[in-house]
């Protein structure tokens, strides 16, 4: 059962990364439950119990707004990400919910070809297993570094 869960979570996380990296941002909010939390913060903030980070959303609608804003409002230089994800570590599983932790490495490719490590860190996740696919009830993106180069537009 444990391996099955890990494989299930691994698959949905692969799809999540694929959606962002392949430019299908419209699909990104669908990985979350309607009532959800998505946060990008730093390891320093997280370990000190500081609540505020770089991005905070407590509804899927706020994630939709992120994408709409990126498409319609915000100005930034075209770039893409490549996510490399570690294997999900299943922390706990109860009552149709799974807590997991997964490390990530995100490479940013600018339009001129400049390719840099943009962020590393871990996803602290709570998945709901109620539906056809696991969905995120909570994703805290804890970046190892407190420095963000230039801007953070695309989701991590």
């Amino acid at each position: 059962m444990g391996e099955e869960i890990a494989s299930l979570i691994g698959q949905v996380q692969a799809a999540y990364a694929r959606a962002i990296d392949n430019g299908d941002l419209a699909a990104w909010p669908d990985f979350f439950e309607e009532q959800c939390t998505y946060k990008i913060t730093t390891a320093d903030n997280h370990s000190q119990g500081l609540e505020a980070g770089v991005v905070f959303a407590n509804s899927r609608a706020m994630l939709l707004d992120r994408i709409t804003s990126l498409r319609e409002a915000n100005v930034y230089e075209r770039h893409t990400y490549r996510h490399l994800l570690g294997q999900p570590w299943i922390q706990s599983q109860e009552a149709g919910r799974v807590r997991s932790e997964t490390s990530f490495l995100v490479v940013r490719i600018m339009r001129d070809g400049t390719t840099d490590i943009y962020a590393t860190g871990r996803y602290l996740d709570l998945y709901s297993l109620q539906g056809a696919k696991p969905k995120l009830v909570e994703r805290i993106v804890v970046c190892d570094s407190s420095r963000f180069d230039t801007l953070l537009a695309l989701p991590l």
């Binding site: 730093t42 609540e51 319609e72 180069d149």
Partner: protein, 419 residues
Amino acid sequence: MLSQASAAHTPAELPSWPEPGLTRIPYWLFQDARVYAAEQRRLFQGPQWSFLCLAAELPNVGDYCTTAVGDASVVVTRDADGELYAFENRCAHRGALIALEARGNAKDFSCVYHAWTYDRQGNLIGVAFKDGIKGKGGMPASFCMADHGPRKLRVAELCGLVFGSFSDTVPPLEEYLGEAIVPRIERVLAGRKPVVLGRYTQALPNNWKLYMENVKDSYHASILHLFFTTFELNRLSQRGGIIVDPSGGHHVSFSAIDAQAEKDAEYAKQNIRSESGYRLADPSLLQGFKEFADDITLQILSVFPTFVLQQIQNAIAVRQIVPRGIERTDLNWTLIGFADDTPEQRLARLKQANLVGPAGYVSMEDGCVGGFVQRGIAGAGEERAVVEMGGSGADSSESRVTEASVRGFWKAYRAGMGL
């Protein structure tokens, strides 16, 4: 290296300002190593006040943090007398960093290299093997610890904002800020107990002055930042204005919501990329609470050379700008709430924090636009920017369709640099 070092002392070695006034800004200011070196000495270590930290970050005796004043790493401490002290983070012996952590609590500070030890005020109180071992080695008898130590900074505090200066001649902080600026800081912070909600650093690919220009530029705000404009957080037609202090270096840009005001037709006429009809799926992002007695929803305040206090609705933050080289700048954000926030108010602040920072709906663009300029001017050191919107002066104005506070920055810059 030699020419850079001497340039810091010799004004004649810097290029000269191309023409009188403040409306033409030569691009070599953002490219020249001699200019950068001179700024370190004349501005950051000259008669200016630089933001160090919040007093609330060092509540207890022994608390310390490391911060920066230009290139110089600085330690800020709270000593047993309850006062704050600041000194250069540089061992008097061979120059190594004294404190390595961003923050902590310490009885004293011991350099890891040779264990020279300093008290919380930066006084040298111990030198390892000072008297040698078994009468051999050690420092000469003439060596006096009191004659050696990292440079100390003057420290001053206003409403919990802690500033430091290397200068003995800089006017007292409140005088430096002046009567136009002090009440605007008090408006946000006086009598309140701030708490840090979070911190992060935005690494900017541009000279520090391009960021300060951007902060002071009310002309761009509603053009570049569509998010603001569409949601009527910052229309140029809103009631508001610009305050520029007599030195030019400090400014306040503010606006107040005027619910009765008609939708402004000026934008549509100008064919600016701002009328999109964009609406939020979750408008709770902007549903704040009444925090101030006035109707001001936005107040951006800058202190020369490198400090910003921001109020965007209920998103309060301080920004410290640290040059990291000619074309590199660190923008250190500290997001603030207050001790008496209700849980609902705290949640509103967390949501509105989405407006600012590297992923900020309204400040994301500020992270890249300085880089666009830095790259745009790369081959054009002898060319000049045109800063003429609203005339040639650097005075306060009821209109925000002006670059008066940008000119104010250059006025203070020229005075401070002797350019």
